[in-house]
């Protein structure tokens, strides 16, 4: 027998369906990733359309349908979108968080409580705007990869387990590697960069917040390379994340580079 159920979740994506409906992809607390239909939400008279926009944290009621369940009621838990869309860097970071979560929660209906909590925490941090959006994104990506079982090795050697500190980093090998295991193509990031990865993995925001822009840029590069290596298909949003500080429209090349997502 079909029966109503209720869950809280974050809206990861929305797709148009027919004239006025939408398919909403949610990452929920109890049911993992869910795709459900929201009827009539594109009409301006719809009372819950705006609540089911991307980055919304909602409490929803579902009615089981033949192919997709139908959303029958929605209330907002946190309106993260308001704070996120007020800043373009936050918006691009939040988009990358949504796409990564969608990709990592591969199976619909399979509980993913830790990923859900991680997404909510990251979106809340972006909406609050207290922390550098690029750091929030990298912390999310590192911890999400840890849940998936492929966090980069940041102390012992990724291949043989020899205790660090090591200086070479290889995406193919899975993180830091010792001198003996070092494959061709490994890079030598500055110690600060590895320090930042460790801080982000452990939520040490004091250390992370004190790092220089160059250190953050290098760490972002390693995180992105590590993530893309493990995902089958490339993320569309990651290259569009705006990382650097906006420098204004008039004049410099740097500004137009930043405008293109750099």
């Amino acid at each position: 027998m079909a029966h109503l159920y209720r869950d809280t979740g974050v809206v990861l994506r929305v797709h148009k369906l027919g004239e006025a409906d939408r398919i909403i992809t949610l990452l929920t607390r109890k049911h993992g990733k869910l795709r459900a239909v929201a009827k009539g939400v594109r009409r301006t008279s719809s009372r819950f359309g705006a609540r089911l926009e991307p980055f919304g944290h909602v409490d929803a009621q579902f009615y089981p349908g033949r192919t997709l369940d139908v959303i029958t009621q929605v209330t907002t838990v946190d309106a993260f979108a308001v704070g996120i869309v007020s800043d373009y860097q936050r918006y691009t970071a939040a988009s990358a968080i949504s796409e990564t979560a969608d990709r990592l929660a591969a199976e619909e209906g399979e509980p993913a409580l830790r990923l859900y909590l991680l997404v909510v925490g990251a979106l809340r941090a972006l909406a609050d705007g207290q922390r550098d959006s690029s750091l929030v994104l990298d912390a999310f990506l590192l911890r999400a990869m840890a849940f998936a079982g492929w966090a980069p090795a940041v102390s012992e050697c990724a291949r043989c387990g020899l205790p660090g500190p090591h200086t070479a980093f290889s995406v193919q090998a899975g993180g830091l590697v010792c001198a003996r295991c070092r494959p061709a193509g490994a890079v030598n990031p500055a110690p600060d960069v590895i320090g930042l990865l460790v801080a982000l993995l452990h939520g040490d925001w004091d250390t992370a917040g004190a790092t220089a822009q160059g250190t953050r840029r290098d760490a972002s590069g390693l995180v992105a390379a590590h993530l893309q290596w493990h995902l089958e298909r490339q993320l569309r949003s990651l290259p569009l994340v705006e990382r650097r500080v906006w420098q204004g429209t008039l004049g410099t090349e740097a500004a137009s580079e930043a405008a293109s997502g750099g």
């Binding site: 027919g18 705006a50 949504s98 796409e99």
Partner: protein, 219 residues
């Protein structure tokens, strides 16, 4: 067409459940192509297909002719990006339009919607969509550079941002405001997005209510 045929077409359209590939060759091809159109589900696609099959040849020919003209004749205005039959669209060619005011929209259909209100006498800039990293759309995929070039060279003094009142549209507006705020003497405004008429305040969603607050006017 003969009534018998019409009745048969009706029967065929209703007898088969949507989504089944029951028809052969060209009929199924027609249904598939129609089903690709926005807002047309499998059932509607079948209904339209059978309507077309049972239509007079002259009616079909008119439709084919128009579709042919669309592929050859319609292009985009080199100035504003709106659909146009010439190099520049009707609005950009119209000298009575106020060149000091530029309204930025996502799609050509938004130009149509604003034109219908008869409120706006300036010109438009069509971005070609909204900033949407999840769909791979960043500033380079939209007509942002063309907008900057127009504002730098033209007599524009006011830019009115009229992107959609949804997450992607709001983020695009945020981006535009940041891009345009440093231009000396340029006034940047955003369409007010108030509460929907006929609704109760208590039922308003948080996004709309928040924007209604930030866009409040003194009376």
């Amino acid at each position: 067409m003969p009534a018998v045929l019409a009745a048969r077409a009706d029967w065929a359209a209703s007898a088969f459940p949507a989504g089944c590939e029951l028809f052969e060759g060209v009929v199924q091809d027609l249904i598939d192509e129609l089903g690709r159109l926005p807002g047309v589900g499998p059932k509607s696609a079948q209904r339209i297909a059978f309507h077309l099959i049972s239509s007079e040849p002259a009616d079909i020919k008119r439709l084919v002719d128009v579709l042919g003209k669309v592929t050859e004749g319609v292009r985009f205005c080199e100035l504003c990006g709106n659909v146009s039959e010439q190099q520049q669209c009707r609005i950009c060619r119209d000298t009575r339009r106020d060149g000091a005011m530029l309204c930025v929209v996502e799609e050509p259909k938004d130009v149509l919607a604003i034109e219908r209100t008869r409120e706006f006498k300036g010109r438009y800039h069509v971005l070609g969509g909204a900033l949407d990293p999840l769909s791979g759309v960043g500033p380079d995929q939209l007509r942002m550079r063309e907008l900057l070039a127009r504002i730098s060279s033209d007599e524009v003094t006011e830019v009115i941002i009229a992107t959609d009142p949804n997450t992607e549209g709001e983020a695009t507006a945020t981006y535009l405001v940041r891009m345009l705020r440093d231009f000396p003497g340029l006034n940047v405004t955003r369409l007010a997005s108030g509460l929907p008429m006929g609704g109760d305040l208590e039922f308003a969603d948080e996004l709309t209510l928040g924007r209604a607050f930030s866009g409040r006017r003194s009376l």
